[in-house]
């Protein structure tokens, strides 16, 4: 399609509601740095940004600023750490405590060679401390929680309000690549209060999403049920 033919679609594209074939055509025009379409889409993106004005302005809760800053403070350059320490300390402490607690709850029955709880805690904190770790929250109707994904160190999955498992069933986490089949990221069960923390150490390459399904005890090679949590990265 020509730029002239695509021009009426600029706004819909910027708004995220355009469909193929126009959407694909515009993707292609932008990929080859088409001047006319790039300018048009930039203007349309300005319009979409301005549409935020139609939303009722609501003040965020006061604690949200602290939460946002706590998430980044641990990753700031060393010269800033002195004054930022008090902001992130409570958050880090609570996460460490939660992880430690979960490690105790979910540790396997088999005896590992040396202090497995400490090793798992260290692995989990290593993932949380990785500057490039992605932190994605989810709030499905049946569960709420967060997933921390470090490309080089692994995944920490934290959830509450998990559905009750039938006898002989287990939760199984999956790494969904951009292309190809899901890759198992281990099985876990929930605690008595329907919460769980699951750790999958090791590199995570090419992940587009993390999902959780209910599988037969012992897990499956591929998902046998529809994921009830899908968290895109």
């Amino acid at each position: 399609m020509t730029c002239e033919e695509l021009r009426p679609e600029y706004d819909a594209y910027a708004l995220g509601i355009a469909e193929d074939p126009e959407r694909g055509e515009l993707d292609a025009h932008l990929a080859r740095r088409c001047d006319a379409c790039s300018r048009g889409i930039a203007q349309a993106r300005s319009t979409v940004a301005a549409l935020s004005g139609i939303v009722e302005s609501v003040a965020p809760p006061s604690g949200l600023r602290r939460r946002v800053l706590a998430m980044v403070a641990q990753d700031a350059p060393a010269r800033e750490q002195k004054w930022s320490l008090p902001a992130w300390l409570p958050w880090a402490t609570s996460v460490a405590f939660a992880v430690a607690l979960a490690v105790v709850v979910t540790r396997p029955a088999s005896v590992a060679p040396v202090n497995p709880d400490v090793a798992k805690l260290e692995q989990a904190l290593s993932i949380l401390n990785d500057p490039v770790t992605q932190d994605v929250s989810f709030g499905e109707p049946t569960a709420r929680g967060r997933v921390f994904v470090s490309p080089s160190r692994g995944i920490v999955f934290i959830a509450a309000h998990l559905p009750k498992l039938d006898p002989g069933k287990t939760f199984q986490m999956w790494v969904i690549p951009a292309k190809g089949n899901p890759i198992s990221a281990g099985t876990f069960v929930s605690a008595a209060d329907a919460s769980a923390i699951h750790l999958r150490p090791g590199p995570v390459t090419g992940a587009a999403a993390v999902a959780v399904t209910v599988e037969p005890a012992g897990g499956s090679m591929q998902p046998t049920s529809t994921p009830f949590i899908v968290t895109k990265l």
Binding site: S46, L51, I54, A59, L64, V72, V136
Partner: protein
Amino acid sequence: MQRGHNSRYSLGYPMILLPGLILALELSETNDEVLVRALQRRESQAMADSYDRFGRVVFSVVLGVVRDRVIAEDLTQETFLRAWNRAAGFDAVKGALGPWLLAIARNRAIDHVRSVSGRMDRNSFEFDAREHPSLFVDMEREVINKDHARVLRGAMAKLNQNHRQVIELAYYEGLSQSEMAERLSQPLGTIKTWVRAALKTLRDEIGQELAA
């Protein structure tokens, strides 16, 4: 407005000098370029400033879509964390920080609504590609302010019901034009016409305000 220094961040004058006044002045003067460069240096003060400038509008947009304060808080936090982690790809000179943050925020919120309603489709995965920081360049940066919001709300009120409805379905629910056609039992061509006409009207109103 271009500033001659970046004192809030790593190279500035001592903050012990009238810190309150300096803080107030710099909050109002910090421009996108200074802010983005500080974000790219991973200075947490830059995140604080970003939040102070855009936190309210980001939270409002997310809340307007998800209608749940707890989820809106989580998604707002995720929005700023994404910006923090991806600021390296942002063009500090040409980039428009506010529109980028709002795009991330709205995408996260609509993704959430879609996942809850079982409407996950390929659009969801493509949102990520369409919020890449390199795309938010050469844009009008001053579109996000109270005056323009007032103008826009006035323009929305003047739209006819059909035009207003498609804008709301698109902005708050992220419905594709086909989905809107099905929801409103209208031909796809009619929906496209309504969307174009409504957005043109709104853009013209904003444009007049910007030109004024």
